[in-house]
């Protein structure tokens, strides 16, 4: 059963930059689905459709639908706040909010109305452990989050998303600014997380795509060129364009 079904999704920004053209795909539950391809291919746009973050951007035209658990989330009547709690997002550059580590984690929960300290403490510990940063920050939860290293900040951002107990986690090149060791830690955390969550990752390299993908989708200039299981797609791609890109012949 697909967690997410995207049906003929097209989108064009007002400034004419990135766009999506007639994208249809199903995304599996409890797996890592990787969206890869050259810049400007529509990967980030697709991610930002999934949690309606595109509402903040000027969109010229869009059509098609995205079903999450059977509900079309592009419907204007959808409760976007609830949707964003269900579909969390980690950005390319770690952005700790200007507050302490603990406050960063509980920010979303407090907005959702959780006031009980025990629940909040529990969420802090659980999410920081799941994102593999607990041991490094447990003694300084009240320090400003900005004091952490880049890698720690990004795992904090991941924990901040997990704290809301979403069902889907979107990651937009989450390791692009990180060193290999931090990248390894984030990837290991994703492996652990996919047991509970549906993960959609825009990787920052082909290697990362191949390492992490259960399923992989290749995007080129707004179109979905090829989509399939990661193992087969990266070893025997069916499309010439996919093969060229994987082999490094363009992009």
């Amino acid at each position: 059963m697909n967690k997410i079904t995207i049906e003929s999704l097209s989108l064009q920004y007002s400034d004419g930059t990135e766009s999506l053209r007639d994208v249809s795909m199903g995304i599996h539950q409890n797996a890592v689905t990787v969206l890869f391809g050259p810049a400007g291919g529509g990967k980030s746009t697709l991610l930002r459709c999934l949690n309606r973050l595109n509402d903040l951007t000027e969109v010229k035209a869009s059509s098609g639908q995205i079903l999450i658990d059977g509900e079309n989330i592009l419907d204007p009547k959808v409760d976007v706040i609830a949707l964003r709690r269900k579909v969390g997002m980690v950005f390319a550059r770690p952005v700790p909010l200007p507050m302490s580590i603990r406050e960063n984690i509980i920010y979303g929960l407090e907005l959702a109305g959780e006031k009980r300290k025990s629940k909040l403490d529990e969420a802090v510990e659980r999410s920081l452990k799941l994102s593999a940063v607990w041991d490094e920050v447990k003694d300084r939860l009240n320090d400003p989050a900005i004091a952490l290293s880049g890698g720690q900040q990004q795992r904090l951002c991941l924990a901040r998303v997990i704290a809301l107990q979403p069902e889907i986690i979107l990651l937009d090149e989450p390791t692009s600014g990180l060193d290999p060791i931090s990248t390894g830690k984030v990837e290991a955390a994703l492996l652990e997380l996919k047991k509970e969550y549906t993960i959609i990752l825009v990787p920052h390299s082909i290697q990362q795509a191949a390492r992490t993908a259960d399923y992989a989708a290749f995007f080129l200039t707004g179109e979905l060129i090829e989509y399939g299981e990661g193992k087969s797609l990266f070893t025997i791609p069916k499309q010439k364009k996919t093969e060229d890109y994987i082999m490094g012949r363009f992009g």
Partner: protein
């Protein structure tokens, strides 16, 4: 030959630095000069009686208490109207307004508002608040007039402060399930607050020192008692200074300088507070 040019370039650079330093000093000198001059001339007048007493003998003796209290009232009154309105307008412009004809019109109005001579505000206040709305020559009318004059300063500095908060904070906050307003209240306003406060204080400081806008709307030549309602007229430091400097013959000169000194200290204190808030916030800022 090479060596000669190297030497020469150093000399030119040194001369350039000297010129720039000189210009910097020249711009600061008038300010320091004014402060020192008034300090020397006025400090002999300052005493507890001067600050806490009423003027008597046709203002040629006694203190300036009603003017000090009056300026305080006017500043507070101006803050009550202009601060919430100014911040609300800035939030609208920075966070909600789309870049269209309507917004551009508002911005144009604000810029022009800032350029209007203060005496015009005074006449406008006289027409609208004193006469048409029948507030009379009162603290209320004067505060409202000063508020209109202060608004552009508050709006533009507050908008600037709001805009300087990184966009990424907003995106992240929204992605975590915050509404736009929650994001503004919990993140953006909190981070912009020092900048907003600086603008507020600088705006109010200007209002506190103005004479023309209160001339027709709330300032009294002389009052034997303190105002006890917003509908009373009041004495105020800048106007009092104007009166005792030009309207009263045989005025003892040190009372004039003493009054000027009090006004100067009042305004400079606000300025220093604004500077302290700003530098503290910069040191604490997490982005």
């Amino acid at each position: 030959m090479k060596y000669f040019f190297a030497q020469n370039r150093h000399t030119i650079q040194r001369l350039g630095f000297a010129a720039i330093t000189l210009i910097a000093v020249v711009t600061v000198l008038p300010i320091i000069g004014t402060v020192v001059f008034i300090l020397i001339k006025g400090s002999s007048a300052i005493s507890w009686n001067f600050l806490s007493g009423f003027p008597h003998d046709g203002m040629r003796a006694g203190g300036i208490l009603p003017a000090v209290i009056g300026t305080l009232y006017l500043t507070i009154g101006t803050a009550i109207f202009s601060v919430p309105l100014g911040i609300a307008a800035a939030i609208y412009l920075a966070e909600y307004a789309k870049d269209n004809q309507w917004t551009r019109l508002i911005r144009l109005a604000i810029i022009n508002l800032a350029g209007i001579p203060s005496v015009v505000y005074g006449l406008f206040g006289l027409g609208l608040f004193v006469l048409f709305l029948q507030f009379g020559t009162s603290i209320l009318a004067a505060s409202l007039t000063l508020s209109i004059m202060t608004l552009p300063v508050i709006i533009s500095t507050a908008e600037e402060a709001l805009r300087s908060v990184p966009q990424a904070f907003r995106t992240v906050s929204i992605s975590l399930g915050a509404t736009r307003w929650q994001t503004i209240r919990r993140i953006v306003l909190k981070e912009a607050l020092p900048g907003i406060l600086t603008g507020v204080i600088l705006g109010l400081e200007r209002a506190a020192g103005e004479t023309a806008p209160i001339l027709f709307t709330g300032a009294a030549f002389f009052l034997p008692r303190l105002p006890n309602s917003p509908f009373d007229a009041t004495m105020a430091l800048p106007y009092h200074l104007f009166v005792i400097s030009t309207q009263v013959p045989e005025m003892p000169i040190q009372i004039q300088y003493g009054t000027a000194l009090v006004l100067l200290v009042f305004v400079l204190t606000m300025n220093v507070i604004a500077t302290v808030i700003r530098s503290r916030a910069r040191a604490r800022r997490q982005w």
